[in-house]
Symmetry: C2
Subunit: 349 residues, 2 copies
């Protein structure tokens, strides 16, 4: 039984839940308590990774540098990591400074069919002797064979492992089982899983992934995260221990962080609302929730219909502009059921 | 593929979450919206069932009669049900009046090894031509063979089905699989499952139960319920539909209840805190949370240690008095690790 690694994304993916407004104090208190819990790595940064702070996806309170610098002071037993999506961040402006600031782990992410875009970044981090993982986002949108090709590319670039990100929380347990089993059997590097809880299955999916050979799980404390939230680490550790797995995690200390630290960050964490569930069903990136609600209000349409259309169009992360377009079309009775040309002709009549 | 029935416990089990303070208005608005969603039955009442309102387990705002009477006015397409634990309620004072008030469904519950205590009540309700289900609470505490005996007893009394209640949210998916498969294969009546979300597995456990032959699931909207909460109906319906099951539930209407009605009842629903998880790990009835926290505060001890001791003693629902005793012993350094006699001698020194 290979050693399990838990990567704590609370201060990165969790950041979405509070619109990236984590403070220095939040990060300090969190890292001080969390360092001795037994996580492999704690990741910090904007919800969309290094370099992502912007008007389009949300400005963060602190710069990437401030977050890394703060966390670096308090993490001794746990590695410090960052996440970056090429396009949102660049090697020169974001990755290199982060490495210089003393991070240990780099996770480079891309849409599940675009591993090519991560080559330079993975190689750069490997050459800097950092531990590097590739992340395939919205993994449910590619066939298992295609995923295998993408994993093998990342392996060739020097990634230590590849993490499948269930960005939309759209996975059923069967989907996780088949995908992780196939990938684990066919590559030598580690396979990881990053659940989201849109269908209430985050813990179950993480557990299923581990049963099928995954050795890395991304989760957060209290499931803190965008929309439906992430895999709740405390619940997963409890399930694993109940099933006889050795986690090397101090569960009581982890629960203390839940009790004592998380209320400083947010006073109502957890609970699936209807948009979370609809995004899970439609397979749409859960972080779209805030722009979807905004556009729905602006155009007076049902936000769930926007999600369904985004799912139909197989929208991926980074395509927030499409939301306004869809909402506008839905609000226009002529345009909503016609193709673009008819819509344009109609608007001229 | 047998028809699936969903029993909505939001206005009964969910009541624990707000200390049984549901109002007439809450019940009215809820039933008006929920009646056309497609639930088989909506259950109303005190969290611990008919007759349970008391200082010990919590006084409810409304009497059982008021709750039944209010719901009865607005449920036409969905059956109205009640839950009763013999001991908390009696035939004469509670069950018979409820039947006279026009309920359709009766659920009679007991500890998982005590089906004998339900015989008179199940027979009474059957003789009144009501649809009757037995409920085996804390089912994880009995062997599968013992559970089978108890289910067969309830079957002989006239129960249409037996629902396994995972009162402590202690079930792993493997446990659910083995138990439900064995029972389904060996009895003719319906088998149901009532998850709790202490280990983040409520939806997964409900799904697993259905895969193994369960045809009844108890859940709540938004997972609203005591402690860790119940199986979130919206998430379960979404998972089932994604897996090709016919649920006959209007998911959008169900999601509307989540969005529009639940905020009237409680403004922060969901999220597993540390006590929820510890109670799931120790296998202790989750509704102990409030008295455990109170006793922990009173005696200045760690509430998780109280839970672990309750689990060690295999405490069951109704034994809230034991909590004070344990907390007292934990707070007394002499008494906490000794047996009762030594404790008594020690306190005389």
């Amino acid at each position: 039984m290979k050693k399990l690694s838990f990567i704590d994304a609370t201060l990165r993916d969790g950041s979405h839940a509070i619109k990236h407004q984590l403070t220095v104090s939040n990060i300090e208190n969190y890292c001080i308590e969390m360092d001795s819990v037994g996580m492999d790595t704690i990741v910090v940064g904007h919800g969309n990774g290094l370099g992502a702070s912007s008007l389009q996806v949300g400005l963060s309170l602190l710069s990437d540098y401030e977050m890394i610098h703060t966390a670096r002071k308090y993490l001794e037993r746990t590695k410090l990591g960052v996440y970056m999506i090429p396009g949102f961040g660049t090697i020169h402006d974001d990755l290199e400074p982060a490495i210089n600031a003393g991070i240990d782990v780099v996770k480079i992410g891309c849409h599940c069919t675009e591993a090519d875009t991560t080559r330079q970044h993975i190689e750069f981090a490997r050459n800097a002797n950092k531990e590097v993982y590739g992340v395939l986002m919205m993994y449910h949108m590619a066939s298992i064979n295609k995923l295998l090709e993408e994993v093998q590319k990342m392996e060739s670039y020097g990634a230590k492992g590849v993490i499948l990100m269930d960005s939309a929380g759209a996975s059923t347990m069967e989907m996780v089982k088949k995908t992780v089993a196939t990938l684990s059997e066919n590559v030598n590097i580690e396979i990881g899983f990053h659940p989201h809880n849109n269908l209430g299955l985050a813990v179950a999916n993480a557990y299923t992934a581990i049963q099928e050979g995954a050795t890395i799980i991304d989760g957060t404390v209290k499931g803190f995260g965008a929309g439906a939230g992430n895999c709740q680490l405390e619940a997963l550790i409890a399930v694993l221990e109940k099933n006889g797995y050795a986690t090397n995690v101090d569960l009581y200390k982890l629960l203390d962080v839940n009790d004592n630290i998380m209320p400083q960050i947010s006073n109502c964490i957890g609970g699936l609302d209807s948009l979370s569930i609809v995004s899970g069903m439609s397979g749409v990136f859960s972080a779209f929730k805030i722009p979807v609600l905004k556009a729905a209000k602006q155009f007076d349409v049902d936000p769930r219909d926007i999600f369904n259309e985004l799912g139909r169009r197989k929208a991926v992360g980074g395509q927030e502009d499409m939301i306004i377009e869809i909402a506008e079309q839905l609000s226009n009775p002529l345009g909503s059921n016609e193709d673009d040309l008819t819509y344009q002709i109609g608007s001229l009549l």
